[in-house]
Amino acid sequence: MIEINDVSLWYSPELKVLSNISAFIDRGKKIVVCGASGSGKSSLLRCINGLERFQKGEILVNGVSVMSPTTDIYKLRSRMGMVFQHFELYPHMTVMDNITLAPIRVGKKSKGQAKAIATSLLERVGIPEQADKYPSTLSGGQQQRVAIARALAMEPEIMLFDEPTSALDPEMIKEVLDVMVDLAHEGMTMVVVTHEMGFAREVADEVIFMDQGAMVERQDVQTFFTAPENLRAKQFLKRIIR
């Protein structure tokens, strides 16, 4: 479903963010990407939906090249959902407006249809009563759940998560992870950049470990936790898991 072929990204000759990344993500699979800060994991995620433009290599989503000038990138993006570390809800719109903006403007749905979709999604993430509130009045966990609903509103084939719980207080991490676990069990294809190894163990099919822009370890989840090969990966696991 997603083919990443030998992708490299750099801002200058000294600042190489991604080096020769190759991966294949099947439909229905859950991939967890982890690594230290600056290892390029967020950049890789952003390359998948074209938010970052890389210089070398190719990414194909269902056979469509992300970087090709003939690709309708907006259509492509509407088939993918993304959730950000800092939620990035639009502060000047209500929760309902946040969720219905893209379905109306991009998905060309009517206001009524969009509202119905939004309401059912809010119920799915557990906060239907917040529909008419503004984001700043919600807790971090609630905001992130709204963000997930917003991403799901476009009925994507794949969900991309960029450290979704890193900006949350510990009490709220669980409520967001629960939503993500439910999503995983429903069969959604997911690529999740995270430090939450408990989540990885529960839900992931594969773990990719990145270090300084390179993909240094890629294993199915069991092997990664029990017998990682790469030294840096081993060190990382030691520090993350007490």
């Binding site: 950000f84 000047h92 991403a151």
Partner: protein, 242 residues
């Protein structure tokens, strides 16, 4: 200190024909400023967007526009529009202009004031855009919104709320700058006040009245924008306490 025996004659302000002249002058001031402001907002937002998009040619154009208007006095612009611009039209265009347009000074005033104020509005919107986190752009793009849609539904409304105080000040400045159109013959309130002096030698009263007009207009604009601010306030954002 010798006070010359000056007979104040305040009736100059409302006595005919001066009363209706003053009224007409007030109307001209308001109409000219308002029309120019409409142009300024539309052009200003566009130039402001040009200055921040990742398209180099647009950025350069925007920067040139702002620099040209910022470094050249408004009077020079006015004179250019009134005296020089018609000469740049082909002969047939000039004939058409002088035949069809009844009050070219007014039109030149509107164009000059509009384009000049636009450069200042552009700078304010640019400041607003720069203060919006890149995550907002990413969230919008990730859901499939085109750049145009992103600016229209997310970025511009947000920036507007951020810069509302300086936007209000700019509106006031536009009103004040309209007084300068007297130099090309527009009979707005300041010109009228000065003009009446040549008939009545009571310019002090008329200019005092004109001052009151500007101060009242200022008060009106500030109150109006205060109401606007209340309506579109983003809950949780720091605003001015009245």
């Amino acid at each position: 200190m010798e006070i010359i025996n000056y007979q104040f004659d305040w009736s100059v302000i409302w006595q005919q024909p001066y009363g209706s002249m003053m009224l007409k002058g007030m109307f001209t001031t308001v109409l000219l400023s308002f029309l120019a402001w409409c142009i300024a907002v539309v052009v200003g937002i566009t130039i402001g967007v040009f200055r921040v998009v990742p398209v180099r040619s647009l950025r350069i154009f925007g920067t040139c526009y702002v620099q040209v208007f910022r470094n050249i006095p408004f009077l020079v612009h006015l004179f250019f529009w009134y005296y020089a611009a018609p000469l740049l039209l082909p002969k047939s265009g000039q004939m058409w202009l002088y035949d069809t347009v009844p009050n070219y000074a007014f039109l030149a005033g509107v164009m000059g004031l509009g384009t000049y104020t636009a450069s200042r509005v552009a700078e304010q919107f640019r400041a607003g855009f720069l203060s919006i986190s890149p995550g907002q752009f990413r969230a919008a793009f990730a859901s499939g919104l085109t750049p145009f849609q992103t600016y229209r539904y997310v970025i511009i409304p947000l920036a507007f709320r951020i810069i509302l105080p300086s936007f209000t000040t700019e509106f006031l400045t536009c009103f004040k700058n309209s007084a300068l159109t007297m130099t090309i013959g527009v009979m707005e309130i300041t010109h009228t006040a000065y003009y009446i002096d040549s008939f009545t030698w009571h310019g002090l009263e008329t200019t005092t009245a004109a001052s009151l007009v500007y101060l009242t207009l200022g008060l009106f604009v500030v109150t109006l924008m205060g109401q606007v601010e209340k309506r579109i306030k983003i809950p949780g954002m720091i605003t001015r306490r009245s």
